[in-house]
Symmetry: C2
Subunit: 273 residues, 2 copies
């Protein structure tokens, strides 16, 4: 749900300070769900492609303190953020390098593993990106891919306008070549890119009033914040009018009350070179 695409920094969520806060809120709340089963052994080299502001990087270095991470992003500004974030931890097992996922500045067969989180959704050619990453992996090396899927969202109470605001985000992302419904496609994408034994598991976030940390950390500060941030663009693009937008955001917020529920699913896939 973050990261930029390959075409000159067109990133649907923008680069504001609030967006950076949102990415960190998201990463904190979702750490166990998304990362707990990714641990790299001592001495291996891992390419994190599209590290953005380092929201996932801090978890990677923490969970695999004896692996070495090479973190790449197309945005130098994001890379500096990522670097500062990791430097604020006690870990020194990551290096940062500016680069394009389609033209990676490394020789072939260079890395033991690759890790890509919330990147493919922003790319026009995700299979091509997976192929390029594959070429940088040694034989037997693995890739781990994590993506969201905005079409996996549903909630109670229902609201047509709330769903329309989500559709705006899906449409805006499609207009700049992305795919906000990519989670459900990880299996065929990994297969098409030629990875062996692809395996995908859903990571569903279910939120109700008995989980107040998720009501705040996920529904409000991650999901609704992400949708709200594209309101201006959606109205400007003529995808929705301001009054429907406001009703929709109210509808989303309504799901955070005591009798509301909210569902969203991330997908995590792995494959072997």
């Amino acid at each position: 749900m973050n990261k930029i695409d390959d075409s000159a920094h067109r990133y649907v969520h923008g680069y504001s300070e609030r967006e950076i806060e949102r990415l960190v809120d998201q990463a904190t709340t979702l750490t166990d769900l998304l990362h707990s089963d990714t641990r790299y052994p001592a001495g291996v080299s891992v390419l994190e492609a599209g590290c953005g502001v380092g929201a996932q990087t801090v978890t990677l270095v923490e969970n695999s303190p004896e692996a070495h991470f090479t973190c790449v992003d197309i945005s130098n500004r994001s890379l500096q953020r990522a670097k500062a974030r990791v430097e604020a931890t006690r870990h020194r097992n990551a290096t940062f390098q500016q680069g394009d996922i389609f033209n990676l500045p490394f020789p072939d067969n260079h890395f033991d593993h690759a890790f890509v989180c919330f990147v493919l959704e922003h790319l026009e050619k995700p299979v091509k990106a997976l192929c390029r990453l594959k070429s940088k992996l040694r034989p037997g090396g693995t890739i781990t891919v994590i993506e969201g899927d905005h079409g996996s969202t549903y909630f109670y109470p229902g609201s047509t306008e709330a769903w329309q605001t989500i559709q705006c985000l899906i449409d805006l992302q499609a207009r700049i070549g992305g795919n906000a419904l990519i989670g459900r496609q990880l299996f065929p994408l990994l297969t098409k890119a030629g990875y062996r034994t692809p395996s995908v598991s859903p990571r569903m976030v279910y939120v109700d009033a008995s989980r107040p940390d998720y009501v705040d950390g996920f529904t409000k500060n991650t999901f609704i914040a992400m949708v709200e941030a594209v309101g201006g663009d959606a109205i400007k693009a003529g995808l929705i009018n301001a009054s429907t937008w406001d009703k929709g955001i109210k509808g989303l917020k309504r799901t955070t009350e005591g009798d509301g529920t909210f569902c969203y699913t991330f997908f995590k896939g792995t494959g072997t070179n």
Copy 2:
């Protein structure tokens, strides 16, 4: 996804032989996902309300061989099926009794626990049903509720017509007073019925070509079979035309090919009296 409602056997899926096969296919594929964490200790009494043809009952008696189950259904014909199905196992810890969930033939505070699976979705007044069940529980007794949610369905490749066939099932169920989107509502329903410490967990079924048992047992023989079975009713009711219906079913079947994926989520809730 089975069971009848309280108003004289209006059951959206019908009572055909194929439907009975479907219910058993469904129960077999989903047994671990839905039931593995329900084990009742020796000596306790459990009310299974709306046991239908016993698709879940065989798992209950198998997983808790020293508990005693009282299985109730409004349909005597279904009850006979359920009884025969349990008699075909080595277990003798279930008795069967015809009865209405809104007018249960037992004194108050009679059971240690209650179990309800794929029943509330067919009832016009699910909170009332939960209250009636609560009155039959001893203080401290628990209820376990399992329901599907057809609105949780999404798949790849996408197909508008495929989604329309699912919407037909949702609409038909609503017309006879049911709610095919009830899974996401278990938390507020249990809360409204006065259960203490309600807790709900999603049970997501994710299907791709690496899980051929789920492609057959769930996507084809459970979900698509369930949708296909209401085709005649949906067309007769004017909800869809025959050609769109056929395209939709083809779209659903397309998701079972090598590059397809299919997602559906059940919800399991518990609460204490």
